[in-house]
Each structure stands twice: as structure tokens, then as C-alpha cells.
């Protein structure tokens, strides 16, 4: 499962000779005047688990529905396994979808639901029974075949929907908020199950979600969408650690943003002056930005250290503030620190010790400092 991926280094997108399995070329979709999807180009490779991540109305579901064939692109093309999908009806596409509402047929049993797609393809009866039994076993619903959808719990329904979409062995499986309707605990276990099944069957998955945590854990790559455009594509690590814009940095995870200007630069470092931080920010790599241009430095809360005493060598990347609030989360605590400039900064600290007299608390004066590699410079 997860570790299998990292050890075999499944990264076809880095291989210039790899042929994309799904190719979305300059696709635009308009509903009247409203542009839902705006000139999106995207390559997805075989056996990938690709997540489209974005807020509501960002166009991710429209893009998914165009892959399924429920919407036709206003312009642009979609290729699946080399075949142009223009004008091909949903019922003729080698694509199946798991719907957000699961869309189980309420008047059919679990077995009939799962067998429905195979019947449409005129698969022989005996084979249908075999394949249905096998896939139900895979999603651990072997004994539920005779039940109707309303006799199942939410998690079971989700697995029926998955089985129904998988049983046709589609080239591409689309999942619209697959875990959205489940509660938090169930969601976590289902996430891993989903990854395991994808790994076993080797089907290419495209998942739409608004939940960044879900996207981070599930996917091989993520495409972050906003206003109908794909803002950044990359592995979860790339998206989190190297966001390409303020939008991505802010949408994925929590971030502290410092606006500033370059005051000193060379090939291997920049120093950025920031009024709000009342200190200069040092970054240990060069930046492709015109001098004196306005830019932003993003620092993740977990990368900031919080101390009462000033750190040694505190010339850059160190600001003073007062603890304004603490949110205790169990495994960690979130500190809201008010800088002397008035700006609020979020810092997370793991709660490594069960109880300590010496923990930083409300109204303490503190130093915030971070490593030269922690800040991300953003120009957009």
C-alpha cells in the first residue's frame, strides 16, 4: 500500500517518455456566461490515484463529469487511453463513477446493483454471478448480497457503490467525494481500504475532494483547483512543502504569511525585509524575482520554534511576541502569538511531555524562530 508506492518509486510523471493514460487538453466548460472549467490541461498516468482538490464551485466536479461524459466540454479535448472522447455517451465510455450520494438503485438488492453494469454488457449469467461474488468479497460485503440499500449502514453503502463501479473493470474510476458522507473514524479506515483496493486492482483513480487531508493521504498526485483553473499539480509533499502560490499555501494546511521585499540577494540566498515581522527573513536559496518586487514568505506553524529565551545567533528569522491564546488539541497545541506589530501568528507545538510546570502559557513573552529552509517565497 502506501510504503509500496514509495519503495518502487512510482513516478511516471517524471519520465519524459511515459505516455499519459488520460489526457485533458485545453478543456473549457461554460454554463451560459459562467466559466466552470477554464482552459485546463492535465496528464494522468496509468495506475495513478489522482486527486482534484478545491473548494466548492472550483470546477473539480464539472471536470470529473466531463471525464464521465455527463457534460461535454465547450472547447478542448479529452483522451482516455489514446481515444478521443468527444461525442461518446457515458454508457459507451470505459469509465465508471462512484457518486457522492452513492446513487444506489433503491429498488434493487446489493447483488443486482453490482450486477447491473455487467448485464448491460451482456456478460454471461454464470460469469456475472462469479464476478459479483468476488468483488463483494473484496469489499467485505460477501454476506450482504440479498439486502436492499436502505438495509445497509453508510459505510456499507459506500462499499457497494465502490464494488458496483469496480466490477466492470473500467480503465478509469472516478470518485466524487468518496468519503464525504462518512464520519471521521470510518473515514480514516476507509481511506486505507480504498488505497489497498486500488493497489490490488491497478485501476486508475481520479478522486474529487474538498478535504485536503483526504487528498494528502490518498493520492499519488494532487491537482489544486480554483476558479476553474488548475493552480498547481504535484505530489502531496510538493503541494505542502513547495506551494507555488499564496492560494495553494493557504488552501492546503495552515500557513503564516509575511509580505515583504528583497533587501539583499545573491545566487544562493535572499534576505527579505518584512515590516510586520520586524525582522529580516533569510532564505537559503536564490529566488527568481525582480529586485524590490513585492512578495510573500509562507511559514508553516509546525516549523516555527517557540521559546522564552532568545535563540543564539538570532539575527534573521526571529521575532518577539506575546501568547494570546492556546488551543489544546491533545497530541499538540496551537499557540496564537501576537507580534509586537500586531500581526497574529499560529504556531503548533507537539505535547511531548504529559505535564510540565514550565510550559509556555497565556501572556508569556516569547521568541519565534525558524530555519532558513523553512520559509517559502511566493510571488503570486
Amino acid at each position: 500500500m502506501a510504503e509500496a508506492k514509495t519503495t518502487t518509486a512510482f513516478e511516471p510523471w517524471t519520465d519524459p517518455n511515459a505516455v499519459p493514460y488520460i489526457e485533458i487538453r485545453n478543456v473549457t466548460k461554460k454554463f451560459g456566461e459562467f466559466v466552470a472549467v477554464d482552459n485546463v490541461s492535465l496528464n494522468i498516468y496509468k495506475q495513478e490515484l489522482f486527486c482534484l482538490l478545491g473548494g466548492s464551485g472550483c470546477g473539480k466536479t464539472t471536470l470529473l463529469r466531463m471525464l464521465a461524459g455527463f457534460e461535454e466540454p465547450t472547447s478542448g479535448q479529452i483522451f482516455i487511453d489514446g481515444q478521443d472522447m468527444a461525442g461518446i455517451a457515458p454508457y459507451r465510455r470505459p469509465v465508471n463513477m462512484m457518486f457522492q450520494s452513492y446513487a444506489l438503485f433503491p429498488h434493487m438488492t446489493v447483488e443486482h446493483n453490482v450486477a447491473f453494469g455487467l448485464k448491460q454488457d451482456n456478460v454471461p449469467k454464470g460469469e456475472i454471478a462469479d464476478r459479483v461474488a468476488k468483488i463483494l468479497e473484496l469489499v467485505k460485503l460477501g454476506s450482504f448480497g440479498k439486502r436492499k440499500p436502505h438495509q445497509l449502514s453508510g459505510g456499507q453503502r459506500q462499499r457497494v457503490a465502490l464494488a458496483r463501479a469496480l466490477v466492470k473493470q473500467p480503465k478509469l474510476l472516478l470518485l466524487d467525494e468518496p468519503l464525504g458522507a462518512l464520519d471521521k473514524k470510518l473515514r480514516e479506515s476507509t481511506q486505507f481500504e480504498l488505497m489497498k483496493i486500488q493497489d490490488q486492482l491497478g485501476v486508475t483513480f481520479v478522486v474529487v475532494t474538498h478535504d485536503q487531508e483526504e487528498a494528502m493521504t490518498l493520492s499519488s498526485r494532487i491537482g489544486v483547483m480554483n476558479h476553474g483553473r488548475i493552480i498547481q499539480t504535484g505530489t502531496p509533499t510538493e503541494i505542502y512543502e513547495f506551494p507555488n502560490s499564496r492560494f495553494v499555501a493557504d488552501f492546503v494546511g495552515t500557513v503564516n504569511m509575511f509580505p515583504g521585499r528583497i533587501v539583499d540577494e545573491d545566487n544562493d540566498y535572499v534576505r527579505i525585509g518584512c515590516d510586520e515581522a520586524a525582522c529580516t527573513i533569510f532564505i537559503n536559496h536564490g529566488v527568481a524575482a525582480p529586485p524590490n518586487a513585492e512578495l510573500w514568505v509562507a511559514v508553516r506553524p509546525e516549523k516555527i520554534h517557540l521559546t522564552r529565551e532568545a535563540p543564539a545567533d538570532a539575527r534573521d528569522n526571529c521575532v518577539r511576541g506575546t501568547v494570546d491564546g492556546i488551543a489544546y488539541m491533545g497530541d499538540m497545541s496551537i499557540y496564537n502569538v501576537r507580534l509586537d506589530s500586531g500581526k497574529m501568528i499560529k504556531v503548533t507545538q507537539p505535547n511531548l511531555i504529559r505535564h510540565s510546570e514550565d510550559t509556555i502559557t497565556w501572556d508569556d513573552r516569547v521568541f519565534l524562530h525558524w530555519h532558513a529552509s523553512s520559509g517559502v517565497v511566493l510571488t503570486l
Binding site: 464521465a68 461524459g69 455527463f70 455517451a89 457515458p90 454508457y91 459507451r92 465510455r93 469509465v95 465508471n96 463513477m97 457518486f99 457522492q100 450520494s101 446513487a103 444506489l104 438503485f105 433503491p106 429498488h107 447491473f116 453494469g117 448491460q120 454488457d121 436492499k148 436502505h150 438495509q151 445497509l152 449502514s153 459505510g155 456499507q156 458496483r164 463501479a165 466492470k168
Partner: protein, 279 residues
């Protein structure tokens, strides 16, 4: 916070008394021996005997049932098509016109509908020779025209209440649109079709005004016979007829209600079982 005020209880009780006492009086006095309907003499079922010998009433009732059956079937087909177009085809040209054409018959006074349809039938006969004369056919057409609106409203609300992705899922799994309709949509909206059919049947069985306009000689429906009798004054035979009708409808509706309640109970039990039993 289900506090019950006496005012509300009283309003309900009085309201239902107002709705049901007149019907009850019809039933009670149908068992009156006296020829004067409202003067009680003694219990008797003789008017039921008279009713069952009354050839014009019986043949009119038979005709009305036939018309109601044909009308209901036609209205369900047409009304379902309207509902499908309005609920599923998105914005198409002429949608607004179709929508108002389909709902206008609901509030159109019957005299206007009746008169305009008759004038249409006369004009059509004059120019294309069809329909030749007025009778069962013209009544069915007229009834279907206004009862399809009721069916359309019922089916449309069921269609809009239904999760569209269920149909999309069937398409996605390889079923063609026509098959999706037959195998998925139709079974799910079947209850709406049934209640639409029953409503159309009742509306047709009940209609006096429109049928009077578009009927011809030899196609006298039950309401037309009742009307001509009622105009002449009270008749115990009509009471007996009303009692039979009320009895029939009550049994049918109560039966349907009990059946629905039972299914709902079973459903509830299943849902409880699903929540409690397994994870």
C-alpha cells in the same frame, strides 16, 4: 414542543365535522324507508334495490368507468412525458410555455375548458372530418387534457425529489437512456404514476361540466344522469348511490393507507436493523 391548545384541537374537530357530517348524513338517510329523503321513517335497504334496477344509471356508470379508465391511462402517459421534459431536460426552448400550458388547466374554470374544447371539436369536424360527432372519444380527449396536468404535477415533484445521480449511475454503468428510464426511473416513480392514475380516474368519474359540453347523444355519463335527477329534487336512490361510492372509496383509500403504513413500518425496522446491527 408539541403543546396542544384547545383552540387548535377545536378547530380541527369542527373542521373535520364540517367535512364529514354532510357525507355521513347522505349515508344515514340512504337507509331510510321514506320516499321523502329527509324524513326518517324506518331502516330499509330498498333504495339499493331500486338503484340496481335503474338501467340508465347503471349504463351511465359503466360508460363513466370505461371513460375514466381510458382517460387515466392516457393522462398518465401524457403527464409523465410533460413531467420528464420539465424535470429532466434542463432549459430548452419553449420550456416556459410548456410549463404554463401544463399547469393552466389546473385552475382553468371548467366551463371555459368545456366550451373551448367543444368549439374545437366542431371546427375540426367541419374541416378534417375528425372526430366524427361527439361521444366517448371526445370526452376522453377532453378529460385527458385537464387530468394530465394533475399527473404532471405529481410525477414532476417525484422526479425532482429523486436523486438524479441514480439515473446517471445507470448511464455510467452502460445502460442506454431508454433503458435507464424503463429499468431505473420507472420503478422509482411508480408510486407517483399510480397515484396520478387514480387521481385522473377520479377526476374523470367526477366531471359533469366538461363532459356535458363535449358529449354527444348516447354518451351520457354518470354525473350527467345524477345531475338531471338532482335538479328534479332529492332522491333516496341518489343517497344509496352516494353511499356505495363513499364506501368503495373509503375501503380503497384505507386499504392503500394501511398498506403504505405497513411498508413504512417494515422500512423503519430495516433501517434500525442496519444502524444497530453492523458496522
Amino acid at each position: 414542543m408539541k403543546q396542544k391548545s384547545w383552540f387548535l384541537r377545536g378547530a380541527l374537530a369542527l373542521g373535520f365535522a364540517f367535512l364529514y357530517l354532510p357525507i355521513l348524513s347522505l349515508v344515514v338517510y340512504s337507509f331510510n324507508d321514506n320516499k321523502l329523503v329527509t324524513v326518517w321513517s324506518k331502516f330499509s335497504v330498498k333504495w339499493y334495490g331500486v338503484l340496481l334496477q335503474d338501467e340508465p344509471i347503471l349504463s351511465a356508470a359503466w360508460l363513466s368507468l370505461k371513460i375514466a379508465f381510458m382517460n387515466a391511462t392516457l393522462a398518465v402517459i401524457l403527464g409523465t412525458l410533460v413531467a420528464l421534459a420539465l424535470a429532466r431536460f434542463g432549459a430548452f426552448r419553449g420550456r416556459a410555455l410548456l410549463s404554463s400550458l401544463a399547469t393552466a388547466p389546473l385552475v382553468m374554470p371548467e366551463v371555459i375548458t368545456g366550451l373551448s374544447l367543444l368549439l374545437l371539436f366542431v371546427a375540426m369536424e367541419q374541416f378534417i372530418g375528425w372526430p366524427a360527432g361527439r361521444g366517448t372519444l371526445t370526452i376522453v380527449i377532453a378529460h385527458a387534457t385537464f387530468s394530465m396536468s394533475y399527473v404532471a404535477v405529481i410525477v414532476q415533484s417525484r422526479l425532482t425529489g429523486m436523486d438524479v445521480s441514480i439515473e446517471e449511475a445507470a448511464l455510467d454503468l452502460g445502460a442506454k437512456p431508454a433503458k435507464v428510464f424503463m429499468v431505473i426511473t420507472l420503478p422509482i416513480i411508480a408510486p407517483a404514476l399510480l397515484s396520478g392514475w387514480l387521481l385522473a380516474f377520479t377526476l374523470s368519474l367526477d366531471d359533469l361540466v366538461i363532459a356535458s359540453f363535449v358529449s354527444g347523444p348516447g354518451s351520457t355519463t354518470l354525473p350527467m344522469v345524477i345531475y338531471s335527477k338532482v335538479r328534479l329534487g332529492l332522491s333516496p336512490e341518489i343517497n344509496a348511490l352516494a353511499t356505495l361510492l363513499v364506501g368503495f372509496v373509503s375501503i380503497a383509500v384505507l386499504g392503500a393507507g394501511l398498506l403504505m403504513a405497513r411498508q413504512e413500518r417494515l422500512r423503519q425496522r430495516d433501517v434500525q436493523m442496519a444502524i444497530a446491527g453492523n458496522k
